[in-house]
Amino acid sequence: MALDNTPKRVFKVVGTRPPRPDGIDKVTGRALYGADVSAPGMLTAHILRSPHAHAEIVSIDTSAAEALSGVKAVVTAKDFAPQDDDFLMDVLDNCMARDKVLYDGHAVVAVAATNSAIAKAALKLIKVTYKALPHVTDVDAAMTLDAPVVQEGRSLETVPEGMSQNVTSHCEFGHGDLDAGFQKADVVVERSFTTAATHQGYIEPHACLASMTADGKADLWCCTQGQYNVRDLCSAALGMEGSQLRVTASEIGGGFGGKTTVFIEPVALALSRKAGRPVKIVMSRDEVFRATGPTVSSSIDVKIGMTRDGRITAGEAHLRYSGGAFPCGTVDMGAQAAFAAYDLQAVRTLGYNALTNRPKEAAYRAPGAPQAIYAVESVVDELCQQLGLDPLEVRLKNAARKGTRSSYGPTFEDIGLVATLEAAKAHPHYSAPLAEGQGRGLSAGFWFNFGGNTCVTLNVNTDGTVGVTEGNPDIGGSRAAISQMAAEELGIPYDKIRTIIADTSALGHNDVTDGSRVTFSVGLATIKAAQDAIAKMCSRAAQIWGIDEEAVVWKDGAAEPAGPNAGKFPPMSLAEIAAVSFNTGGPIAGHHEFNADGAGVSFGVHLVDVEVDKETGATKVLRYTVFQDAGKAVHPSYVEGQMQGGAVQGIGWALNEEYIYGEDGRLQNPGFLDYRVPVASDLPPIETVILEIPNPGHPYGVRGVGETPIVPPLAALSNAVSRAIGTRMSSLPMSPPRILKALSKG
């Protein structure tokens, strides 16, 4: 890395808090989201969904709907080409059920009409004959040999023989001699846990506008975390060439992982192709809950041994996740993340994914990690309680650090866990007194963070301003952070730069906005694109001065001779070089395209105080502090925003949020009234402490920060509640009825 030798760099723009470029549009209502655009002649479409958890589709009769005045197109799964690739086929089968409906809410038929009322009326005229099949919605039940089989023949070669066909994959990680480890322990705690499926809960329902013309060209406007991914999935589904489909990402009203795939986009395109008119689809909240990505539900057993002085001697976890009705690899990540915070001699994690009659899982912030780490951190806390040890000291004693062989294999580079734990220990929150009936909980959290395919163009305008074109939808303020990094590298003010997000025809492929990758990967590509532009500007200055390119350096936003021997010329600023660019060789732009690696793992520690009302079972969160290593916080306000937002989603997961299925296999709470996400009055201020342990894989030291904050709250809350009520909780969410039940048993 070119700048690895300047770790103590003094930043001018990075680390400041400038206003976000999309701020005024968003506070005035001008920002355009998925549902906010229309097209001339546009049709509106609605989707008929399965009322059954599991049923064979015997027949579909759409004749009456098609005969209704104003109906222009009807599509079913038959309108999409079967795919060779299993992953793609699953995505498509989730968009439109093929032979069987696999969960309550599974899409069956879509109708486009001249207005919404007609489309809705047409849905009522469609006759679908179902043959109901037995269903299963619980992960443990799905793994039994007599469970209804959700899909046949989907087990990978990794699944041990003799298991239910619902088990689609198996994984195992770890090292060391587990038996010997448990032998060395003074206390061993074994406990089983469950976590409910939760929804990302973005406030903006999925929405798109598709327009396909008779020559096979199409434009698609949609809210997504990745327009290139949408293009690839949709063009395959529709049998189009990628170049003929231009996808534009709207402003996105929250995603958190849930908008990393497609649900309605191929359907809108197919309807538009049939009708020859633009088609808009906007999901209702009910549809969002019933048919878009919840997390996995899980059932987990953890066993940990500890010596009297707090040394962990061995750790084992068995994870059973269900990603709904389709194969899902999320358990792999849970099994790798479970013990990541610990330096262990003996550790083993086993993971299984099982099919259930639930919607297909979609990623949700650090997918797979919150559940696994909740179970591990709960058992560590219980051991601390049994042995009378300070839970923070025990975590420090066993903490993973540089050189630790991680529980998932690789040896850690520079990581910030110890610094984060020390910061928590030193914080006044940790030593503040607690009143009777209150409890304090803590948990560490971890996420891998990813890089990925990234493309950036940086255009130097002749007036001395700069345009950065990148391809990742901005879900947390990344346009501001990207502009800051461009300003830092170029040495010009932040407000001279405008960063925009390109459509799929304007820039090469960019991976989805996920894996906490954007500030890291797009930032790195932007820095390199700026360096590319700087090299060109230095070359232009060298030409103007008549000296060698190598004799020109870039400093504080200007080219200047490298030293007295290079020649005596006053510095030429970016604006001065840009102004004469047409005379010196033409426009100046920098580019960088790469597949970024070296994202740098991220650790956080959360501290929470709670009070439990023993009459109602309600938990009040009294105080909450988040400590996290950001590597380098480019825009500290947005780093804090990630830490606070992730923590609150985790609080919701811990205390209230859950998918509730009835005996009939139907979702009972598909709305914000009954699926209760945290509201402002539920919460205290969320204090934040940003640590900066530079990531060696980024010239400014940046690490991804977006996902880790959702990991620790589950165990932090569970540990706090367990200590407050004197009974160990082992099931999420800890809703009032569950707490009352635990109290009556305790």
Partner: protein, 158 residues
């Protein structure tokens, strides 16, 4: 069903529209008047993203019929700024990084303005309870409370 003709005032401007009898005020604003600042997050009055004022009262426009706007005074996010001069709440939200994705921001700003008109000096708890009907999934609310209090303080001393 025959459409209904409605004469109303939106953000101080006289407006006429026709709508179906069962059409929500939110759909009228978004689909007939081109005012897409109010958002539909749920359609059931649970999320507050569609908040507007009707004769000065804070409402979820998804739960109000378009026809109910007859003769009324409707206030939406598009009317918050005075020309190119932002309302103090808007400026404070930008200054305090009180938005991420921004989908809930119009509703929260409309609700916060209604609060400060009733109570120019609220406690944090009062702000939290007033905004309890406006869901935000990105921020954890912390910076929103700071921004509202910053605006309240500046508006009091203006």
């Amino acid at each position: 069903m025959k459409s209904i003709h409605v004469s109303t005032t939106v953000n101080g401007d006289a407006v006429e529209f026709i709508c179906a009898p069962d059409e929500s005020l939110l759909d009228v604003l978004r689909n007939r008047l081109g005012l897409t600042g109010a958002k539909e997050g749920c359609g059931t009055g649970d999320c507050g993203a569609c908040s507007v004022t009707l004769n000065g009262r804070l409402v979820c426009s998804c739960l109000v019929l378009g026809a109910e706007a007859e003769g009324a005074d409707v206030g939406t996010i598009e009317g918050l700024a005075n020309g190119d001069a932002l309302h103090q709440l808007q400026q404070s939200f930008i200054d305090h990084a009180a938005l991420q994705c921004g989908i809930c921001t119009p509703g929260i700003l409309v609700a916060a303005k209604a609060l400060l008109e009733k109570n120019p000096d609220p406690t944090d708890t009062e702000v939290r309870y007033w905004l309890a009907g406006n869901l935000c999934r990105c921020t954890g609310y912390d910076k929103i409370i700071h921004a509202v209090q910053d605006a309240a303080q500046k508006m009091r001393s203006a």
